[in-house]
């Protein structure tokens, strides 16, 4: 009984210092186990040759030497990742454009906004399937429409190594644009009407107004749109798995897909090599993560 009373008083005395750690404990434990520790384990595995079952064999940097020393599949995947990154960013201006178009108060506009946002709610697997049918050679709606203009893509958009990646990116842009649109619609709602009026009195109109008055005020929305779009571009896996499975002739592989293919597919279980690809992807992502965190840190300092 005495110890219980002592414990209690110790807890009482240190309540404010101890409570946050008690509240953090379950969350941190889960996050460490499933997210933080696995990152380091992947680094470790990438120095080995491992089939996922037997013993790991230490190979040092051999996986990286092979990867960066002229692995054709790696090069294709890497450049496709760059394409994804650059083209995916189009979702931001496109989203802004649609948001400006829809930022009116006419009848039924709420429903229009919801329906424009619709593609984002659907799973990427379904969007991927939908676009696969949209792109079907000869009978797909896309092919029918381009046919009117006399354009014929050999083997269909997804069957042609020159167009397949762009076809998939376009499919990915559909929901991503919807996301950026909703961010900007919310942002536009918060634009200070007095500043807009003041600028109007000063004779600002149209694109001048947009560039010098509106877009600076939309900065928080743009930041989030940028973050989610970059992350989305580097996470592109579902679309590729569903739409082309990396083909034709491996032309649509990206790093995330190539990693999966090496470690967990009918081509074998090269976990060590897969982990090395994941580490490279991780470092590419880390560049952006560092920038995001740095921006957030500046905000935090400002708030204090």
């Amino acid at each position: 009984m005495v110890t219980a009373a002592q414990n209690r008083s110790w807890y009482k005395r240190n309540e404010i210092a101890v409570t946050p750690w008690l509240f953090l404990l379950p969350g941190i434990a889960f996050f460490l186990l499933y997210v933080i520790i696995p990152i380091f384990q992947s680094f470790w595995i990438s120095f080995h040759e491992w089939d996922g079952l037997g013993e790991k064999t230490w190979v040092g940097l051999a996986n990286y030497e092979r990867l960066l020393g002229g692995d054709r599949k790696f090069e294709v995947s890497f450049w496709n990742n760059v394409r994804w990154l650059v083209l995916y960013l189009l979702a931001i201006p496109l989203g802004l454009f649609i948001a400006l178009f829809l930022n009116q108060t006419v009848r039924g506009i709420r429903l229009y906004k919801s329906l424009f946002f619709f593609p984002f709610v659907i799973s990427q697997v379904v969007v991927g399937l939908v676009f696969t049918w949209f792109y079907l050679p000869n009978s797909g709606l896309f092919d029918v429409i381009t046919g009117w203009f006399g354009i014929d893509i050999r083997g269909g958009v997804l069957g042609n190594p020159n167009t397949a990646t762009y076809g998939i990116i376009a499919a990915g842009l559909w929901p991503q644009t919807a996301y950026c649109m909703i961010l900007y619609l919310t942002g536009l709602n918060a634009v200070d009407p007095e500043q807009v009026e003041a600028a109007r009195l000063d004779g600002a109109k149209g694109h001048k107004m947009l560039w010098y008055v509106i877009i600076p005020q939309l900065k928080p929305a743009t930041f989030i749109a940028f973050v989610v779009t970059i992350i989305g571009a580097l996470r592109s896996f579902d679309f590729i798995a569903v739409m082309t499975n990396g083909g034709p002739f491996g032309s649509t592989r990206v790093l995330s897909f190539y990693m999966f293919e090496e470690s967990l597919s009918e081509f074998g279980f090269r976990m060590g090599y897969g982990a090395a690809i994941a580490v490279v992807l991780f470092f590419i992502m880390l560049l952006f993560i560092t920038y995001f965190l740095w921006s957030m840190y500046q905000d935090e300092k400002g708030a204090r």
Partner: protein, 282 residues
């Protein structure tokens, strides 16, 4: 307001806008309308190459009925619910606590822990893949719903903590101080003072996580196989083999698979959008 309200512009532009609006929507949703059309067509339409014509016969009940009674679809749907709902509860509960700890208390390492949660949430899935699969195998949870749930809860806690912490930061702090002066225990402050104020954040995160988890494909493929544990996103690709190129059946199943998050979105739109903007854009 920008752009200038349409009511203030010329009559001609007003009419153009009213016409343009439904037309733009039609173009925007064209791929989706195509699938809806596919899903009510009979098989014979595809056999004869009439992909985009008016259906020769209206097969809505037939196609959707077959998906429900002649495929594993109900099983996959059930799995999706069994995976998604506990994940939502788990991630929201854990992050309400971490968010409270990081949002209310000042202590060394606060910001560091917060940033680790955010950074972990942005990491590519692939760097977690091999070790998480290994861990799940080791726990004997490979190809079980629980294995997926545990991982999802852990991973989503990162994102949810970001959201919860920022939300709690914006709450009026004097309320908490007043309770402290009254001598209320810290955990009671959490339950009786902070939690009731967090209802909007709880709602926003719940709908958002529901959609994220329902739509997850990657982890479903990595941690499960077959209709015993796989959710509907993974199941639907299995239909590719079951139905072959039966576009009408595939379309019908896709639409069914997409329906729960869509319903969720339309029912809880306000919360959903609040969640998506990460609470940073007001």
């Amino acid at each position: 307001m920008f752009p200038a309200p349409i009511q203030k512009s010329s009559r001609r532009w007003r009419i153009t806008y009213q016409v343009l609006l439904p037309f733009a929507l039609l173009v925007w949703l064209l791929p989706l309308l195509g699938v809806m059309l596919f899903s009510v067509k009979p098989a014979s339409d595809f056999a004869s190459g009439n992909y985009w014509t008016i259906p020769a016969s209206f097969e809505l009940f037939n196609n959707y009925g077959r998906v429900f009674f002649e495929s594993d679809m109900p099983k996959y749907l059930f799995n999706s619910f069994v995976i998604t709902i506990p994940t939502v509860i788990g991630a929201v509960a854990l992050s309400a606590m971490t968010g409270f700890a990081l949002g209310v208390y000042r202590f060394r390492g606060n910001l560091l822990i917060f940033f680790i949660f955010i950074a972990g949430n942005f990491v590519p899935f692939q760097i977690l893949m091999v070790p998480v699969r290994d861990l799940t195998l080791g726990l004997g949870l490979y190809d079980t719903k629980l294995g997926l749930i545990l991982f999802h809860v852990a991973f989503q806690t990162g994102f949810c903590t970001l959201f919860m912490r920022n939300f709690i930061r914006a709450l009026p702090f004097p309320l908490i101080e007043a309770a402290r002066v009254e001598g209320v225990a810290e955990w009671r402050i959490f339950v009786f003072v902070v939690l009731p104020l967090m209802k909007p954040a709880l709602a926003a995160l719940s709908v958002l996580i529901f959609t994220f988890i329902w739509n997850d494909y990657f982890w479903a493929v990595v941690l499960t196989q077959g209709p015993n544990a796989q959710p509907v996103t993974a199941g639907i690709t299995a239909f590719n083999t079951q139905f072959g190129v039966a576009y009408h059946m595939m379309s019908a199943s896709s639409i069914i698979a997409a329906l729960p998050p869509v319903a969720m979105f339309f029912l809880m739109q306000k919360h959903f959008i609040a969640g998506l903007t990460l609470g940073a854009v007001k």
